[in-house]
């Protein structure tokens, strides 16, 4: 009896996806929650080190570049949503175009970020040595911003791949929605990094 039931398809007996969302979307939510722990640990450790270290360096004189980077990230979130909406409306060309615009935003952000690093290196601030004599500063700065840069670079490449596959009919709007979740998350992380790393360490 039980063998007969197991061997045949019985309507209503198939287990539904948890939380009634597609499995890949749930997987992305789980990934994001795991990544929240990583970034939260990094930022908490950074704040711990900053509070516990007298004369923590304040090397950021002008942060116009950081402001531009933040604006680009925020705008790329909007373009991602416009692309996702186009995909859900069945506008393939529009979805592809806006996804590529988002990816370009990510690439420009990454290039500006590398430029920011170059300026820090020019000041003599390396991973373990810097002119201010606080060795932990370089490690904290490069690890936190580097981890964010890694996420945004990987996200930009993934956006290009998913966009091209969507145009070719091998991905659908669900895949773009999963990418949207990831992209909004990396933007949100950046919005926490800016005040913690840059705004609270402006040169006085």
């Amino acid at each position: 009896m039980s063998h007969a039931v197991m061997g045949t398809h019985v309507p209503g007996m198939i287990e539904e996806s948890p939380f009634a969302i597609p499995s890949k979307k749930l997987a992305m939510w789980l990934f994001i929650m795991a990544d929240v722990m990583t970034f939260a640990a990094c930022l908490a450790a950074y704040t711990f080190t900053r509070n516990a270290t007298p004369d923590w360096p304040r090397p950021f004189h002008g942060i116009a570049s950081v402001a531009v980077m933040t604006f680009i990230m925020l705008t790329s979130c909007l373009t991602m949503l416009i692309g996702l909406r186009a995909a859900k409306m069945g506008d393939k060309a529009g979805a592809f175009r806006w996804t590529m615009v988002t990816a370009i935003g990510g690439i420009v952000f990454a290039l500006l970020h590398i430029r920011e690093w170059m300026l820090m290196l020019d000041q003599g601030a390396g991973l373990f040595h810097n002119p201010w004599g606080i060795a932990a500063f370089g490690a904290a700065y490069y690890v936190i911003t580097g981890f964010s840069l890694l996420h945004i670079s990987v996200g930009s490449i993934a956006l290009i791949i998913v966009g091209i596959r969507y145009k070719g009919g091998r991905c659908d709007a669900d895949d773009l929605e999963v990418m949207n979740l990831y992209w909004q998350f990396v933007d949100l992380v950046w919005l926490f990094i800016v005040p913690a790393v840059y705004l609270m360490n402006l040169a006085r």
């Binding site: 929650m33 939260a40 711990f48 516990a52 949503l81 416009i82 669900d174 913690a196 705004l199």
Partner: protein, 104 residues
């Protein structure tokens, strides 16, 4: 997921403009000469507001089932509670430094 009518673009633009304004306020606060603790509280407040806006409206969590919202909310609270263990130790060390006292 793809059958439902997607939200209007106006909602996204409104949330985007809110985020731009809040971020601009963060930059203004950053340039003010405010004591570190008070500045941290203000920045964290802005960060929490940004998180709510992004997660509910840009990641569309508000349109999901209640069970998923609860699952994510409880998990995030657990993460923040776990981080709180480090925060308290951080401020304990700060207090030691300011009052020139410490564990013997």
């Amino acid at each position: 997921m793809t059958t439902a009518e997607p939200p209007g673009i106006r909602k996204y633009v409104a949330v985007y403009l809110c985020l731009v304004v809040i971020t601009a306020l963060q930059f203004v606060v950053g340039y003010q000469n405010i004591e570190g603790g008070r500045m941290a509280v203000r920045m964290l407040t802005f960060g929490v507001i940004e998180t709510i806006l992004v997660v509910l409206f840009l990641m569309n969590l508000s349109a999901e089932k209640r069970a998923l919202i609860k699952f994510i909310a409880y998990f995030m609270l657990f993460v923040l509670a776990a981080m709180n263990w480090i925060w308290t130790d951080s401020f304990r060390l700060l207090l030691f430094r300011l009052t020139k006292t410490g564990p013997s």
